[in-house]
């Protein structure tokens, strides 16, 4: 490993300037649970590491019914899943934040970092997508915002241009009679990379018997985490029944275009997308019913 510069700006403008100066020779550091491991492993060679943890805005977490939940890009997972409001309003997000690594990792790792790492199997990304999250991005040309599902562009690649940083994520307030859940499949019970993962959110009608709308996202089965739009749209207006869940699970498989690797085979991954989508839907519906 070559020596490189470590800087810790305290404002977004300064961070953008420092990132822009070094272009693709700079990396942003939040929890560091991916970037430090990759640096040491020789995955890339950089001139500058820009620590985002000293920027107040990136450490903020706030909720209001009007604006929903805002999570700064440097907020560690433990703050998210230990927050009473998040536990009550966004149990699907708790599922995801609690799945990253083990306890020590959760003390450092961030949703923002997980998203910017843009791994196809990113542990939280499908959950962020299913919850309808949006990304707040700052760069040399000012601020922009886009849905999480448009953020990743390939394995380890995303829409951030040189000099751009992720400021935070926003999630709309949960609608009445809604629920979400996130699941991944790993051979071990912790500290593992998903063979497949799936997140679902549903809105039920007032009878809580029928689905008004749904969002489904799956991961580790394509170059980026994918929205299973057709599967989700097919649930609109359907009964919240095992039959609907079964159909959605089968439909979700269509977006999977996985590879064979040491973690799993194509057949296994496509099969698991179906299993996990169904299980996530069952939990999401159960949560929407207040069970």
């Amino acid at each position: 490993m070559r020596d490189f510069e470590y800087v810790a700006p305290t404002t977004i403008d300064e961070a953008v300037r420092l990132m822009a100066e070094s272009g693709n020779r700079a990396k942003a550091l939040a929890g560091g649970t991916d970037v430090i491991v990759q640096l040491r492993g020789g995955r890339f060679d950089i001139d500058r590491l820009v620590d985002m943890k000293k920027i107040p805005e990136l450490n903020e977490m706030s909720y209001s019914e009007a604006d929903g939940l805002t999570v700064g890009a440097a907020v560690p997972c433990h703050r998210i899943y230990e927050d009473a409001t998040v536990q009550e309003q966004y149990p699907g997000l708790v599922d995801a934040a609690f799945l990253i690594g083990g306890i020590q990792i959760q003390g450092r790792a961030t949703l923002g970092g997980n998203l910017c790492n843009s791994s196809p199997s990113g542990d939280t990304i499908p959950a962020l997508m299913a919850l309808g999250g949006t990304c707040d991005i700052a760069g040399p040309n000012g601020r922009r915002s886009l849905p999480v599902e448009d953020f990743c562009t390939g394995p380890g690649r995303n829409v951030l241009q040189d000099g751009e940083i992720l400021v935070g994520l926003n999630f709309p307030s949960p609608k009445a009679n809604s629920g979400a859940a996130f699941l991944r499949f790993i051979p071990r019970n912790e500290m593992d990379i998903a063979i497949a993962n799936a997140a679902a959110s549903v809105v039920l009608d007032d009878s809580k018997e029928n689905i008004v709308s749904a969002r489904i996202a799956v991961g580790a089965v394509a170059p980026t985490p994918m929205m299973a739009t057709a599967a989700a749209d097919g649930l609109a207006g359907k009964a919240a029944s095992e039959e609907s869940i079964e159909a959605a699970g089968e439909a979700a498989k269509a977006v999977a275009s996985p590879i064979n690797d040491m973690r799993g085979t194509v057949t296994q991954r496509v099969h698991l997308v179906g299993v996990l989508t169904k299980r996530a839907l069952r939990t999401a519906i159960s949560r929407a019913k207040g069970e």
Binding site: R188, N189, M191, I195, D261, M262
Partner: protein, 771 residues
């Protein structure tokens, strides 16, 4: 036979100290972080070495140009195999023993060829580890890439690509014998054949014959501490090495041979060891660090990364085993046959022979035939791993027996008990069994409440298996006893403590001297400070080093009887040592406690120091076993272990907590081997999962509480009846889990690891066959 439960119920055990659970002497240091491990060593002026490793699994080295690396600021020296005298002075001779220093040198720094991805090619020493690592990029190696021989199948096919031009197959009929050179060139280094009776006749007497094929993959020991050492070559030519190893005398011998210097010029100092499991019986870095220290005149420290540990150190063998068993309808075995192929990796020396000698030996067989093959391929050279070679063969044999029990509609333990070997029955080696609790362990398994407990849910099943390790001669251990004036004792050994052996040896000394375990301070010292001692492996330290320490303690008693006799103006024979007291036979009123007499040693001729060496060891075989309850998720193929019980014949537990620790630790490593662990190679021989993230060893969340049932069937070879604890517990989990999963999904598993993906495939296969 007594079990832990029996003893806990009894107010007092057979012994005063053995069988109790004192706090281990090295415990506080280890839990507070004060203990010093290999990488904790930092001498003034230390330089840091890093190793350049081959990116190819098989290639000829045309040339190595180190000039740019040597010119880089911060770099102090570079080493290649040209710096190893043994490579310059001695030809390769494959007929030599498995610990062949010429081949070890090539494994430490490749000579003309690289034989696996990660094979060390050169080393750089610099003022910081980062500079050394950067300088590796400046070394130019010209490789002629050769086709990869990735496993035994490719290695053994017709006209294979050869790893070694001069390797020819050796044929032997005894594990101890190097055998005859057949002159047959190839990748098969040796063929071991063991024979009892006539298997053809045995199979002709069978009512039912089962023959199945089993596969296991390359797995790593997974010790937490990567290899780490520091070498300092002093100007007068003496070399000191601080290292994390299982055997300081082995390191001394290997380094002396590779560097062609006398052993007397080398001192090896043991650091604490963060796990070895057999894998640290062999060193890799020490001769390289020594060469770099000689070149720079400064201490050189080398520490491997986890990736280097996976790619560049010895795992255990992948294997292919065909097992055939013939039986009468009542379950009596008539014959058994094994065809076993073990991958040795880059150089000969897989643990095939260990598996071959033990695989069938727990059972009484008149007719048996075992053919084992040691085969080289383009993977890291294998090293020992806990009961080397046994888990693989036991997976085959005990899975086959379980399936046979199903075919015969018999209880699987009844089938084993019906065929268990007794004292005097011949093992497959032809040697009669000694006094060993084979039947006792099997009966304890069958009688255990777990064996008949309700499974408590759907998709669940129970699997059972036993694992025998036939354990031969120990290599020898030394011990020195120093009696101190306050009545405490130091016991000094050369046995690295992997598993609680300090306290287990100290307890034996305390038992002899009538002291408490806390009165005995165990020390593990360097090669200049204790008599020759073989490595900590083969489940032998509590037994062998214990015997040496007992002998030294008995010498100390004799010397102290002399001192009491002197004070009482008697002869030694007139003084006896009873219950920790020296007592005059002439006048029973005259008595000294151990402490009283220890306080008078200086006044009666000086301190008492006694040394003994035990070379007559040989802990002997023992049987272990496991029961597992599993639940299989039929939708994902995931296997969860619901309940686990481990059994072991320990003869006599010295410290039951550390026996249980060995049983639980071995069981957990067996679980990893069975369910998740494997080297995942690309077609060109690159390990894809060389990190602890992807090499999926079990975490605490993957394990149930592992209950332990200690069976104490005394070993006549030890004064207190001890047997070994270290190795056996890893053997049976492989087949026991295979049997449990096979029964849960109603489809037999023949290949490890039993990953969720493979379980799903088995379930699909079952459904396709409509069974």
């Amino acid at each position: 036979m007594a079990t832990t439960a029996d003893r806990d119920a009894a107010a007092q055990g057979k012994f005063r100290v053995l069988g109790t659970r004192p706090v281990r002497h090295d415990g506080i240091e280890k839990v507070t972080g004060a203990a010093r491990y290999g990488a904790d060593m930092l001498l003034p002026g230390t330089l840091h070495g890093k190793v350049l490793r081959s990116p190819y699994a098989h290639a000829r080295i045309r040339s190595i140009d180190t000039s740019k690396a040597e010119a880089m600021p911060g770099v102090r020296a570079v080493a290649t195999s040209a710096d190893f005298p043994i490579i310059q002075n001695r030809e390769v001779n494959f007929a030599q023993s498995l610990q062949n220093p010429r081949l070890m040198a090539e494994n430490d720094l490749a000579d003309k060829k690289v034989l696996y991805k990660g094979h060390a090619v050169a080393a750089v020493v610099a003022t910081s580890p980062h500079e050394a690592e950067e300088a590796l990029n400046l070394i130019e190696v010209d490789y002629e890439v050769l086709p990869t021989v990735l496993g035994w199948r490719e290695a053994m096919k017709e006209n294979p690509v050869l790893l070694h031009d001069t390797l020819t197959e050796r044929m032997t009929v005894s594990r101890a014998d190097p055998g005859e050179d057949t002159g047959k060139p190839g990748n098969v280094a040796s063929h071991l054949q063991l024979k009892l009776g006539d298997v053809e006749q045995g199979f002709s007497e069978a009512d039912v014959i089962i023959e199945r094929e089993y596969n296991t993959q390359t797995v790593h020991q997974g010790y937490i501490e990567p290899f780490a050492c520091t070498a300092q070559w002093m100007p007068e030519g003496r070399l000191t090495i601080w290292t994390s190893t299982q055997g300081i005398f082995g390191v001394r011998g290997n380094v002396a041979a590779i560097l062609d210097i006398p052993e007397s010029m080398i001192k090896v100092v043991p650091m604490e060891i963060g796990g070895g499991f057999g894998g640290k019986g062999t060193g890799y870095l020490e001769p390289v660090a020594a060469v770099l220290s000689r070149k720079t005149g400064q201490p050189v420290k080398m520490v491997m990364s986890r990736k280097e540990v996976f790619e560049g150190t010895g795992p255990s063998s992948g294997s292919f085993i065909r097992c055939k068993i013939g039986a009468k309808n009542d379950g009596t075995f008539t014959a058994a046959q094994l065809y076993m192929v073990y991958e040795a990796g880059a150089y000969p020396g897989s643990p095939m022979a260990g598996g071959a000698t033990s695989g069938l030996s727990a059972y009484k067989l008149e007719h048996a035939l075992v053919d084992g093959y040691d085969v080289v391929c383009n993977k890291p050279k294998t090293a020992a791993y806990r009961a080397p070679g046994h888990p693989q063969v036991c997976f085959a044999v005990e899975s086959c027996i379980d399936e046979l029990a199903q075919m015969l509609d018999m209880d699987p333990m009844d089938l084993r008990i019906k065929n268990v070997a007794q004292e005097g029955d011949r093992a497959t080696t032809g040697v009669p069994h000694a006094h060993v609790g084979l039947r006792e362990v099997m009966e304890a398994i069958k009688a255990h409440p777990h064996y008949n407990a309700p499974l408590g849910g759907p998709n669940r099943a129970r699997g059972v298996a036993t694992g025998y390790r036939l354990n031969g001669g120990g290599s020898g251990s030394s011990a020195t006893i120093n009696v101190l004036a306050n009545g405490t004792v130091n016991v000094t050994t050369g046995s690295m403590d992997l598993s609680g052996t300090r306290v287990a040896v100290a307890m034996q000394v305390a038992e002899v001297l009538g002291l408490s375990a806390e009165d005995v301070t165990p020390q593990v010292v360097d090669t200049d400070s204790v008599g020759w001692t073989g490595g900590s492996g083969g489940s032998r330290i509590t037994f062998d080093t214990g015997r040496a320490a007992i002998a030294a303690a008995q010498l100390a008693i004799d010397q102290m009887r002399d001192r009491a006799a002197l004070l009482w103006e008697l002869e030694q024979d007139d003084v006896e040592f009873v219950d920790g007291n020296f007592v005059s036979k002439k006048n029973p009123e005259d008595r000294f406690t151990f402490r009283e007499l220890a306080g008078r040693l200086m006044a009666t001729g000086g301190p008492v120091t006694c040394s003994a060496m035990d070379t007559q060891g040989g802990v002997g075989g023992a049987l272990a076993g496991n029961i597992f309850d599993v639940e299989v998720d039929p939708e994902t193929g995931k296997v969860d272990i619901i309940r686990a019980t481990a059994f072991l014949d320990i003869g006599q537990a010295a410290h039951p907590s550390y026996v249980e620790g060995q049983m639980q630790g071995g069981t957990l490593q067996g679980i990893g081997w069975a369910l998740n662990e494997e080297y995942f190679f690309s077609e060109d021989g690159v390990m894809a999962n060389s990190s602890l993230l992807d090499y999926r060893m079990p975490t605490t969340l993957d394990l149930p509480m592992i209950d332990c049932e200690i069976i104490e069937y005394a070993n006549p070879r030890h004064p207190y009846g001890l047997r070994g604890a270290g190795e056996h517990p890893i053997i049976a989990p492989l087949p026991a889990l295979g049997n449990a999963v096979s029964r849960a999904i109603n489809q037999r598993v023949y290949t490890l690891p039993i990953t969720p993906g493979s379980v799903l495939e088995s379930i699909n296969e079952r459904d396709a066959n409509g069974s």
